[in-house]
């Protein structure tokens, strides 16, 4: 998450010379012409040229690998000699977990070669290959350079993963893979209709993160109603601690606790209507109530001073230093801020606080969803091999390996027995247990990235929480953004099934 910092050097040659060129001689005109031509060329190059560098060049795929023999050990009929190419996003989760899973694949198919690579530059490495029609077989399409899923699906670039979901699971041939997954994982991989395009491997719990120790020191428990929330914040303020902070420069972190709160207050339908870009979805009273509640945090001075100018790391650091009590975030925060969170912090996450007892859903309603989206390109040569690799990763052993190595849950439902969980992870598992079936999964952030981040996040919520617009104005603005997105024919639109 956060800001991608991508920068490709500058073009400094050509003008360095001009300083020493001043002592003129004859032939001024000609030299001027050359210099002007050079200047124009230099200027215009960075402007337009670079895009065409990744221009498409047509061409078809190299053809599919022949199917192998279907057996109980090889339910997906993987060709035992064909190479499988796997490109992993080398991010917060590292690459060790995938390398371990590749080793298992190589053991199952000793005659097949696996070409494994890990990179942070998913899009710049793979976009040209999609354009040429020669993508790798399995991709972890994640990170700052994630390729737009909506476009990939809309342009028929991905393979349907239904064969994988219907295959027997790695550990128990009697259960299908789809029966071993956590709630919401399969639905998240669908866009419109039955095909499942994406297999989310990690499982993220979103909510309000805090230090249990700090909360204890205030003689408080986690507040369930908004009045209690304000009371806790008032107590904290007396001790010189702000109630809240958030990634002010990336205000699209606020929805991690705000959206499930809207769901809790108004019911799932409100969130679905928002995702479906229905007219007046944002004008629902539950949305207004939640916006007002958050705005009250700002008005009463419960938000850490300067928060709108902090990025995610800076806000997490301030929060870990005890300057603020609550932080809306996802379960990656434990790993991301590991070096600033004190030993005795006792990290915990809670489902968001609601308004009061008239809320539609019970306290504990939490946002949890898949992370690390794995895709198999439609034009890949060895789609069966890619799915087999995923089947291995979704087995209990690989899942446990992932959880113990990178402190995150996986899509595999279970896999936490017998390993020691860190405080944040333990609290996340407890939050999921408490939620039961009350797990919501707002989709704006994967369906309409620009709307979610730049428009709703930065221009709507960010401005409201900085006190520059009121909740009513924010709702009006966001509804207009949503309407514009609904009307935009250049964007593919999706609906909840």
């Amino acid at each position: 998450m956060g800001s991608p910092s991508e920068y490709n050097g500058s073009d400094r040659e050509g003008f360095e010379k001009s300083g020493s060129e001043q002592n003129g001689d004859a032939g001024v005109g000609r030299r001027d012409v050359i210099r002007r031509a050079a200047a124009l060329g230099l200027i215009s190059f960075p402007a337009t040229g670079f895009l065409a560098a990744c221009a498409s060049s047509g061409g078809g795929g190299e053809g599919k690998a022949k199917a192998g023999k279907k057996t109980a050990q090889n339910p997906l009929a993987v060709n035992e000699t064909t190479q499988m190419e796997f490109v992993l996003f080398d991010g917060g989760f590292g690459k060790e977990y995938a390398e371990d899973a590749v080793k298992i694949y190589e053991k199952s198919f000793p005659r097949a070669k696996v070409k494994f690579s890990a990179t942070q530059k998913i899009q710049s490495t793979l976009q040209p290959r999609f354009n040429q029609g020669t993508p790798p077989d399995l991709i972890d399409n994640s990170g700052a350079e994630q390729m737009d899923m909506g476009v990939l699906v809309g342009k028929d670039q991905l393979a349907d993963l239904t064969p994988l979901l219907d295959a027997p699971s790695y550990d128990d041939p009697k259960r299908r893979v789809r029966d071993t997954l956590r709630p919401g994982i399969v639905e998240m991989g669908q866009f419109d209709g039955a095909p499942v395009w994406i297999m989310y491997y990690a499982y993220t719990v979103y909510g309000v993160w805090y230090s249990q120790k700090a909360l204890d020191s205030l003689d408080a428990t986690y507040p369930q109603t908004w009045d209690e929330m304000l009371a806790v914040c008032a107590k904290a303020k007396k001790k010189g601690m702000a109630g809240w902070t958030y990634a002010g420069k990336y205000p699209y972190y606020l929805p991690f606790s705000l959206y499930p709160m809207i769901g809790k207050v108004g019911g799932r339908e409100v969130l679905d209507a928002i995702d479906n870009l229905e007219p007046n979805a944002w004008r629902h009273p539950a949305v207004k109530a939640c916006f007002d509640a958050y705005y009250e945090l700002y008005q009463k001075g419960y938000v850490l001073r300067g928060t709108p100018g902090l990025d995610h790391i800076q806000s997490q650091t301030a929060w870990a230093e005890g300057k603020a009590l609550f932080l809306p975030n996802g379960s990656w925060v434990e790993n991301e801020s590991a070096n600033v969170i004190p030993q005795d912090f006792d990290l915990a996450v809670s489902a968001p606080t609601g308004i009061d007892s008239s809320d539609k859903m019970p306290f504990g309603t939490v946002w949890a969803s898949g992370g690390e989206p794995f895709i198999v390109p439609a034009k890949a040569t060895n789609t069966a091999g890619a799915m087999e690799q995923l089947r291995i990763m979704l087995g209990e052993a690989s899942s446990k390996n992932f959880t113990s190595k990178v402190k995150s849950l996986t899509a595999y439902n279970g896999g936490t027995d017998g390993i020691t969980l860190t405080p944040g992870l333990k609290s996340g598992v407890a939050a999921l247990d408490k939620a039961g079936s009350n797990v919501v999964n707002p989709r704006l952030q994967d369906w309409y990235v620009q709307l979610q981040k730049e428009k709703i996040g930065v221009s709507g919520l960010g401005e409201m929480m900085a006190g520059r617009i009121t909740p009513a104005e924010a709702i009006k603005k966001i509804q207009e953004f949503a309407d514009a997105t609904a009307k935009d024919t250049s964007i593919k639109h999706y609906k909840h099934q």
Partner: protein, 308 residues
């Protein structure tokens, strides 16, 4: 001698022109072509859609905001940077008090030291500079607000990059800081080649520093200033402004679109939203803006050349 002259010239011109055509002109033409398609950048299939990208662009508020900011960058940045750089270069090379036994023309005391110090930012990559300033602008624990608190101004704690009225200026200040040194060195080199007797003559006529600067230094330095102006414009419209906005600002491009610039918008459309064709359309607009900028600067700057 005439024999083979053209073959000789062609032999020298062909490789660079060929490279230029292949790597500059051809991508341009391709970009223009793609702006008439619905290419996503993520699949090889696309079809022609005529002018619809252009129509969409004209209705796009964010495009107009980014254009406005880019134009502001192109006007304000060169003005401030080159103004400052000229002043510094003049003080370093010419503006010093005359010392007994020294040369007629000299810089202020310690000028050789300043020259090196000014150049320091140039050594740092712009990405690092942007990151450092992002820390300095941190409203909670950054250098600027800590300094304000330190001198007792607890009530004055701006949000800097978090404030839509300040953010664009904060970004510009970083670009000025990081580029001014280069122009100080550039102009110093130019000033060093101005013959000292011109200054002596001016001094004998009783010219003060300001007069010397405007009547002697600036006219003789005009070519360098003009090149510097175009170069600074490129930075302001192109890569450098992208880097600082992308790394430092809210969103990036915010808060509330207050810092979005055309290059950033091209990047976001092409690589975040999977709308490469629309991105090339904005790229074509950026091309036009840059060409217009260069044309205006070269046109306005045309002066009679002084020989010395």
């Amino acid at each position: 001698m005439q024999h083979g002259k053209y073959r000789f010239i062609v032999g020298f011109l062909a490789p660079p022109l060929g490279l230029y055509a292949l790597f500059v002109v051809w991508p341009f033409l391709q970009s223009v072509y793609y702006s008439f398609t619905d290419w996503t950048g993520l699949s090889p299939e696309f079809r022609m859609v005529g002018l619809s990208n252009y129509r969409r662009m004209l209705d796009d508020d964010i495009f107009w905001k980014s254009l406005q900011h880019s134009l502001m960058f192109a006007v304000v940045l060169p003005l401030v940077t080159i103004g400052l750089a000229l002043f510094f270069a003049f003080m370093i090379n010419v503006g010093g008090r005359r010392r007994k036994g020294g040369p007629v023309i000299s810089g202020v005391r310690g000028s050789s030291f300043y020259k090196i110090v000014y150049f320091f930012p140039q050594v740092l990559s712009i990405a690092i500079v942007a990151l450092l300033f992002a820390f300095a602008y941190n409203p909670d624990s950054g250098a600027l607000n800590s300094f304000l608190r330190g001198i007792g101004l607890d009530g004055v704690q701006p949000l800097w990059l978090g404030d839509p009225d300040l953010a664009l200026w904060c970004v510009m200040a970083v670009l000025v800081w990081s580029t001014v040194g280069f122009f100080v060195v550039l102009f110093s080199a130019g000033m060093a080649s101005i013959p000292a007797d011109l200054y002596e003559a001016a001094l004998l006529d009783g010219a003060n520093r300001a007069t010397t600067f405007f009547r002697v230094t600036l006219p003789l330095l005009w070519d360098t200033v003009q090149s510097g102006w175009v170069y600074m414009g490129i930075l302001a419209l192109g890569a450098e402004s992208f880097a600082v906005v992308q790394i430092m600002t809210t969103g990036p491009g915010g808060p509330d679109y207050s810092t979005t610039v055309m290059v950033l918008y091209v990047y976001q459309k092409a690589f975040r939203d999977g709308q490469a064709a629309y991105a090339t359309t904005i790229g074509v607009a950026l091309l036009i803006v840059t060409l217009a900028f260069a044309a205006v600067v070269l046109r306005l700057g045309r002066r009679e050349r002084l020989e010395y």
